[in-house]
Symmetry: C2
Subunit: 199 residues, 2 copies
Amino acid sequence: MRDFVKTKNTHDAILDATDKLLARYGYKKMTIDDLAREVGIGKGTIYLYFSSKEEIALTHVDRIIEHLKSRLWEIANSRYSPSNKIYQMLTDRVMYRFDSVQHYSLSINELFAQLRPKLLERRQRYFGEEASILAGVLAEGSAAAEFADNAENYAEMLVIATNSLLPYSLSTYELGSREEIYKKVTDLADLLLTGIRKR
Amino acid sequence: MRDFVKTKNTHDAILDATDKLLARYGYKKMTIDDLAREVGIGKGTIYLYFSSKEEIALTHVDRIIEHLKSRLWEIANSRYSPSNKIYQMLTDRVMYRFDSVQHYSLSINELFAQLRPKLLERRQRYFGEEASILAGVLAEGSAAAEFADNAENYAEMLVIATNSLLPYSLSTYELGSREEIYKKVTDLADLLLTGIRKR
């Protein structure tokens, strides 16, 4: 027994269970009891980590974005050319989110409907963080005369331009067609890079 | 009395009342009785035109898009340069929607949450129609050697790239800041046009 000692393992196990149960029941039907049973802990233990089901779901979304940010940093620090990095980062910010929610694409309408205002607020923070990683690579491209001068100013534009391909804006039908979304984001990345490159 | 004779006036008056009552009560609290009272007709008459409150709200959204499409056609048929037309059309598709829902920006979360799946389906049709108007101007720009060859292929990209600035994707806070949204869509239109222009 590790009563009242919070551990990262238990915290993460609750979020893993959330991911599974969102697929199995959807957000509305999923209960704290279900989560406790899935993790194999008491209901009271869950409340040591989270104050509500809503907070659990939002933290689950936060975790997806934390993983995504690690991937974006990895690309930013790789040895590819700035154009190549931007292309990969834009594709990844769309496809990583797509893949993260694919297994509960049928219940996602409900999740987004229930959490809409809080999710939209949070998205502002996520988008700002992604833009700042992109800005670093854009500045690198300007310095190398591969991109127009001050290309880092385009960071927010790149985020905005690809945002409508994120799961939040997709219908259930679109969430089923990975190839189509992939084609759209890569075509869009090409067009945006054409706009950013030095002439 | 014009019993059982449907008129465009009554149809439109019901939608005008919907617009007002969405601002006053929000979607959930608005009732068919409220709408009938606002228009000055019987509740039964409303059901001659629409089968449900949901259908009324969706038709209300459809009407906004019909107006928008007329404006886009007008720009497409004007005497501006292709670049100028695309710039105006992209700005208009964002700002016209913004202005159409501004007076009920506080209750819009609720409307979008309630109608989310049906609205997302409908959006596919709207976006396709807007893309086809843009494609005409893009083809005109290619023919005039102002845009790259086959620029009409970019029509869908332009729609996707500006979609995340539509009210559906904005938080209540963002829906309050017209200037910010305007700056974002115009900056984005500039970047996209740089990508499309012939080198």
